[in-house]
């Protein structure tokens, strides 16, 4: 699926909750809980993206011209957000990853988590994902 297709899928999924923020957050928490575990050996200091409060670990691997991301966080809501980012950007080409604007986050009403004051490391994580893509492009 293209990035746009995945984004639309997520938007549809969240439309279901309407104005019910509790249900929406319960879903986000579930997404966090169901995020495939990152290999414990990969949860190293270098892979840590330090938010002021919650921390995020990000790992990137190449697979047939695409980048596969795995990630984790110590806070479950952050981890739910991480799961969404991974779902959208993982298994995509570097060109598409760089172009992605993540506007779906606004559409599903979770934009507040991407504001810099949230201090959860998510903005830095997206930047890091794009950097990985750029690095890959530079090499090829």
């Amino acid at each position: 699926m293209s990035i746009e297709e995945v984004e639309n899928e997520i938007i549809e999924e969240f439309e279901f909750f309407g104005e019910d923020w509790e249900a929406k957050y319960e879903h986000l928490i579930d997404l966090g809980k169901n995020l495939p575990l990152i290999d414990a050996a990969l949860k190293t200091e270098e892979r840590i993206i330090q938010g002021c409060q919650s921390r995020v670990w990000l790992n990137a691997e190449q697979k047939e011209g695409r980048i596969v991301f795995t990630a984790d966080s110590d806070a479950i809501i952050t981890k739910g957000m991480v799961a969404l980012m991974v779902r959208v950007l993982s298994n995509q080409t570097p060109e598409d990853i760089i172009k992605a604007n993540m506007s779906f986050v606004d559409k599903i009403g979770l934009k507040e988590h991407l504001s810099p004051t949230r201090a959860n490391g998510l903005v830095s994580m997206i930047n890091q994902m794009k950097k990985e893509a750029l690095a890959k492009l530079a090499k090829s």
Partner: protein, 414 residues
């Protein structure tokens, strides 16, 4: 919000919240419950008006003009100093210096003492409770001067281990810099014990009153410490203004960390004669409106009575601790009958960030994280806590609402 029949004595007398316009708003569809007073309190209308009135009617630079406005502004500024000195029972108002706040005051003392009082290899005693603002200025001095910071440890109940202090003191010890109330735990330092030791070893004391001044009446002259610092914004005043109290000895002896216009009698390129008293420590144009706002906040506190505020907050703390104890997943830190209006806790197995994020969805403002006390977090072996802290306008009904929503949040996080 469900209002229970029980009200504190203070709540029975007056709906204090009416004086705080900011509190009358909805956040995410719920009435705002502001429990982040340890970070900063909200400001009553009269403080907001005092600041805007100053700019509308008296704004002018102080201590230099001959014109009417300048005299008026100078008078109001010096009256603010008197009002605040009087509230803290400081007889000589010249011992009260306006600064940008607690952090600024501590830096001024540290930079001043570093000039001729602290010598290479000296030691300073702090406590495990300290806010970064009462660690970093000393740590920088220590790093540059082969100095050492010695730390008063905690007992199991998270109170300070006063018995250990004597063992920390050596011939190199030059200062005890300590907080009067832990901003993370709300626990109160027994200053009498600290003072007895300081007296015995002839050590000066700096008291960080950022978290005590908002919650208890303090007679600073009687406290007989060397330096006493606090911030207006944590006690219903504006941000960016605070005080540094100097004992008579230090008023004469503390070297100037910074200097400039407004502090002098005569200046030549070779030499300067400084004025005496507080102005010597207030170079440049001060935060005049801030000082007036601070004085107005003091008037607000005085009108209500600090004893009344403390009693009301004590009831809130007791009640909140009781409700939190009834929730099995909650781990409380520094639980104590005798504490300032600050409570830290965690939900077992959950990140404080998640708890804070979901409480915010219910309109409840709490603080999460390390609260600028990372060494204390390391000592407790945790990443952070959820902190709730109260002020005069908080109510028992808000605590009921908070406790109900906290239980809901715990279920959501599962």
């Amino acid at each position: 919000m469900k209002v229970r029949s029980r009200l504190t004595e203070a709540e029975k007398i007056i709906d204090i919240g009416l004086q705080f316009p900011i509190l009358k708003q909805n956040i995410n569809g719920n009435p705002l419950v502001y429990f982040d007073n340890g970070a900063t309190t909200q400001k009553p209308l009269r403080v907001i008006e005092a600041i805007s009135d100053y700019y509308k009617t008296s704004n002018s630079n102080i201590h230099r003009g001959v014109h009417t406005l300048s005299r008026r502004a100078t008078e109001e500024f010096e009256q603010a100093r008197k009002t605040i000195a009087n509230y803290f029972q400081i007889k000589n108002d010249q011992q009260l210096i306006f600064t940008a706040g607690t952090t600024d005051s501590i830096n001024m003392v540290a930079e001043g003492l570093a000039k001729n009082y602290l010598q290479e290899g000296d030691e300073i005693i702090l406590s495990t409770y300290e806010h970064h603002s009462n660690i970093l200025p000393w740590q920088i001095w220590a790093q540059e001067n082969k100095g050492k910071l010695k730390v008063i440890p905690l007992l199991k109940d998270q109170t300070l281990d006063y018995g250990a202090i004597e063992g920390l003191i050596s011939s190199k010890t030059k200062l005890i810099a300590i907080t009067q109330v832990s901003n993370t735990l709300g626990l109160i330092t027994d200053l009498a014990k600290i003072k007895a030791l300081a007296k015995k070893h002839h050590l000066p004391i700096l008291v960080d009153a950022a978290q005590s001044a908002p919650h208890m009446a303090i007679d600073v002259d009687k406290l007989e410490v060397d330096f006493f610092v606090c911030s207006a914004h944590k006690m219903y005043g504006p941000t960016g203004v605070g005080i540094l109290y100097l004992s008579p000895k230090w008023l004469n002896e503390l070297p100037l960390a910074r200097t400039g216009g407004g502090t002098i009698k005569t200046v030549t390129f070779e030499k300067t004669d400084y004025v005496e008293g507080a102005l010597r420590f207030e170079p440049g144009t001060p935060n005049i409106a801030g000082a007036l706002g601070f004085a107005e906040a003091i008037c607000f506190i005085k009108e209500f009575g600090m004893e009344e505020i403390a009693k009301h907050e004590h009831e809130l703390v007791q009640y909140a601790q009781k409700l939190l104890k009834e929730i099995p997943e909650v781990i409380m830190y520094g639980e104590n009958d005798n504490k300032a209006a600050v409570i830290s806790f965690n939900v077992r197995g959950q990140h404080p960030f998640d708890v804070g994020t979901l409480l915010d969805k219910y309109g409840i403002a709490v603080r999460t994280g390390h609260h600028c006390t990372q060494p204390l977090m390391q000592c407790l072996n945790i990443q952070g806590t959820v902190r709730i802290s109260f002020a005069v306008y908080n109510t028992l009904a808000e605590i009921d609402f908070f406790s109900e929503k906290l239980k809901k949040v715990i279920r959501m996080l599962g």
